[in-house]
């Protein structure tokens, strides 16, 4: 095992360097709450691609796809993860352009939900998106803390506090701008480190022919693209990723950060192209772990690290530590700022014409609160998989009616709310993870159908979509999409009636 002092020292050096980059990038440039939570029209296609890749690809890419490959159906499960991660990015090309067109001075998805649908749908979207983002954050802190505990026996709280604390420093100071700049540099380190690391690991395992022969002799279904259980997993994880990412405020912030529609299209397109091979390679480590007989003791969730330990000398483990720390930092800063921005943008509306100081305190105070919560949870070593799946399910039921509001004026707030809640009811009825809770409702237990993740996720999405179509057809012209652009304005913009600047 690598020395914990060496791993902690390396982790500290990594977070210090990137904290310095974040502080330097934001120095003297954050002059209002608007620039703290929005980096409007500032990112070209390369920067946008880099920040989207870094934001979405957390340390989970070293854990979940490998676990899918090892325990949930081999190659088709991994392919589902990979393709399912790319689809939302491709969808954000037209949807992002529409968001910018309908609400050009907007900041957050909840701002849109309130302006378009009213308070009912706003509360549902707020609950679902903040819950998802906080679980994402907590899972990242838990993942890195568990990984460093595995490779070097580092106490959970030390990892969580060190990484969370330093990310908090530059995110609190530099907001979204610091996040985007550090993301860009981090992506330019992460991509070659991943490619060279995976290539080296494969060669250490004897090359692709040897790897293939080992896996096929252990279990040929691992590399069978048509293996049923793997296909089922791949399909439901694609539904889960779609809903969750469409309600990810971090991506919405980057839609606004794009320097025009061309940058949005190229940036999202490049990110979509690269996440597929990244997750495929990571997933192959899980398949390798199973093929090598390393996951027999129920350790599929750390399959990636098991193979690294098997195939690589200790110094390479340190490179993996740097990679994992960068992956966590780049996602954590995004989530810190994303959660804070949702609430800050809402504060501007909820408080009666607040001044800049109040919004500053709100934005930075919330960043600190979110970070402390995530650091605390990361230090506990909880299993967050069930919470993650629950958050994904909630998003699957809500995102279709929510996004439909961008395109039709006929969908009313109550129509969207009922569509979303109906989708959630179907999802919960079939959701295996909450079976006990749902069955405890009097009179429901005996009537529940057989649980299925696929039916839960697909059902939540498709039922909410069908009801959205019905509500749109039945609804009258209730909304005025043209007025949204006038209602939602920049936080440092003078009010339209000539009132004081806030």
């Amino acid at each position: 095992m690598v020395s914990s002092a060496v791993v902690l020292g390396l982790t500290a050096a990594t977070v210090l360097v990137f904290t310095g980059v974040g502080l330097f990038a934001a120095r003297g440039r954050i002059d209002s709450v608007e620039t703290y939570i929005s980096a409007r029209d500032s990112a070209g296609s390369g920067t946008l691609a880099a920040t989207v890749i870094a934001s979405m690809m957390g340390v989970w890419i070293l854990l979940s796809p490998a676990e899918a490959g090892a325990a949930f159906g081999g190659l088709p499960a991994v392919l589902g993860y990979a393709i399912g991660s790319a689809i939302p990015l491709l969808l954000f090309i037209p949807v992002g352009a529409r968001i910018r067109e309908v609400m050009p001075a907007g900041h957050s998805l909840t701002e849109f939900a309130y302006a378009r649908f009213g308070s009912g749908m706003y509360l549902l979207v707020l609950l679902v998106s903040v819950f998802y983002m906080f679980i994402f954050l907590a899972a990242e802190m838990t993942g890195i803390a568990s990984a460093l505990a595995l490779v070097a026996d580092v106490p959970l709280w030390q990892t969580s506090l060190l990484i969370g604390g330093f990310v908090l420093v530059y995110t609190t100071y530099g907001g979204l701008l610091a996040s985007i700049v550090t993301d860009t540099v981090q992506t330019l380190v992460i991509l070659p480190l991943l490619a060279v690391g995976f290539g080296g690991a494969l060669l250490s395992l004897g090359g692709t022919s040897e790897f293939h022969a080992t896996v096929v002799s252990a279990d040929p279904t691992l590399l069978d693209p048509t293996f049923g259980p793997g296909l089922e997993f791949g399909l439901y994880v694609a539904f889960a990723l779609l809903g969750a990412n469409m309600l990810n405020q971090g991506v919405w912030q980057r839609v606004y950060a794009a320097d025009g529609e061309g940058a949005l299209r190229r940036g999202m397109g490049i990110a979509a192209v690269v996440v597929v091979p990244m997750l495929l390679l990571s997933g192959l480590f899980g398949i390798a772990a199973t093929g090598l007989g390393l996951t027999e003791s129920g350790s599929a969730s750390i399959a990636f690290f098991l193979v690294v330990a098997e195939a690589f000398p200790q110094w390479v483990t340190l490179a993996v530590v740097v990679l994992a720390v960068l992956l966590v930092m780049s996602s954590a800063d995004t989530m810190f700022n994303a959660i804070a921005s949702v609430v800050t943008a809402d504060l501007a509306r909820l408080l009666d014409d607040p001044d800049q100081r109040t919004l500053w305190l709100g934005g930075r105070g919330l960043t600190v609160a979110v970070a402390l919560g995530a650091i605390f949870i990361g230090a506990q070593g909880y299993s967050v998989l069930q919470l993650f799946l629950t958050a994904d399910l909630l998003a699957s039921g809500v995102f279709v009616p929510f996004l439909a509001g961008l395109y039709t004026e006929r969908l009313t707030g109550p129509g969207a709310l009922v569509s979303g809640i109906a989708g959630l009811v179907v999802g919960f009825v079939y959701f295996p993870s909450l079976r006990g809770l749902v069955a405890a409702v009097p009179g429901v237990g005996s009537a529940l159908p057989a649980p299925s993740f696929l039916i839960a996720f697909a059902g939540a999405t498709l039922v909410s979509a069908a009801l959205t179509v019905a509500a749109t057809l039945l609804g009258g012209a209730d909304a005025d999409l043209d007025s949204l652009g006038r209602e939602v304005r920049a936080l440092d913009e003078p009010v339209a009636d000539g009132g004081s600047e806030r």
């Binding site: 920067t47 991509l191 590399l223 069978d224 693209p225 490049i270």
Partner: protein, 42 residues
Amino acid sequence: MTPPAVITLAALGSTAFGAVVWGSILLVLTVFLAVCWLVLTE
């Protein structure tokens, strides 16, 4: 044809597997170079 035979036939062949793996690594490196170029020329 027995089920195991079907499974074996459906499994990805060694050459195709190698192409997928090395192709993925090359694609990641290509995107890295593309992003570098785009960022530097912004």
